[in-house]
Symmetry: C2
Subunit: 152 residues, 2 copies
DNA sequence: CTCCCTGCAAAATTTTTGCATCAAT
DNA sequence: ATTGATGCAAAAATTTTGCAGGGAG
């Protein structure tokens, strides 16, 4: 995720027709900082609170909801039973690790292209497709290390 | 989803090393009946309760959890922030409708095969892949009708 | 008979809501 | 100045837990 300064965050909020309040700015910055972790509201709040002692948990909930509705961030599917968010609206593919319960983004342009052309050859009746995503499930061997994918 | 009688449900529970209690049987039957709806615990409970007035909501929660841990049913990813379950452990592909908030199963053997062979040509470092799933997002045009997919 | 499952109710967790006040445009 | 966002606290919704009694193997 790219690094954004205050001014850029402001502009991005405005681009999504959102009032650029201080709380919204810091919530969005927290999401950027927690990039790759797909945090729930509570986790965003915990990160924010020390530097912004006056912010309230309710506001974080409301803000994340507004962000998701506006399309500024994505709600991420999870099996954990709580709402989780991602500032990266481009990467849609996720790896679920059943060991560590992590949700890990991955991008694979070749795979996207393969699916793109596959779905172009299908016709959906009564459905307007907006996008697709792939999820891999499995286990990290070494929980402390990263997962990498290479061609054979 | 295939129709199962009591005896077959019993056998299936036992096959997953689960004691075949009356509550487990009716919870599993409810999941079969709600096939395609990916219900949360509460919805399973509502369906069950009239015919089984003595069953408790807590038991439904525990039972669904036990089912998911044993592999008898799947937890289904959702963006709704509650745990949802599916008795169909074969179909992994889902369509999310942002209009109706439905999660709709779909199977597409050709697509599975395509992905299967794709992933066989990749190597995952530090990850043991167990399976993959595709999710389509979009909108049902007519909420009252089914979605169908055909080749062009 | 034994062990695990169940019902119940309380507690914990997560999320939403109402309202007076405050701040961004 | 206006409008909508915030903080706070209460309420609602969801999920977990502890324990005494009950039922399956």
């Amino acid at each position: 995720m790219q690094q954004l300064n205050r001014q850029e965050v402001r502009q991005r909020l405005v681009a999504y027709s959102l009032k650029a309040t201080h709380q919204r700015i810091v919530v969005y910055e927290a999401l950027l900082e927690l990039h790759g972790q797909h945090p729930a509201a509570e986790e965003v709040f915990r990160l924010l609170k020390p530097a912004n002692p006056s912010i309230s948990l309710g506001t974080v909930y409301k803000t994340l909801d507004v962000f998701a509705e506006s399309g500024l961030v994505q709600r991420v599917s999870s099996e954990q039973g709580c709402k989780r968010y991602d500032a990266n609206t481009l990467a849609h593919n996720h790896i679920y690790c059943s060991n560590t319960r992590e949700i890990i983004d991955f991008e694979d342009p070749e795979l996207e292209e393969l699916l793109q052309s596959y779905f172009q050859r299908r016709h959906m009746h009564n459905f307007q497709m907006q996008g697709f995503a792939i999820q891999l499930t499995g286990n990290k061997i070494d929980p402390g290390n990263r997962i990498t994918i290479t061609k054979l």
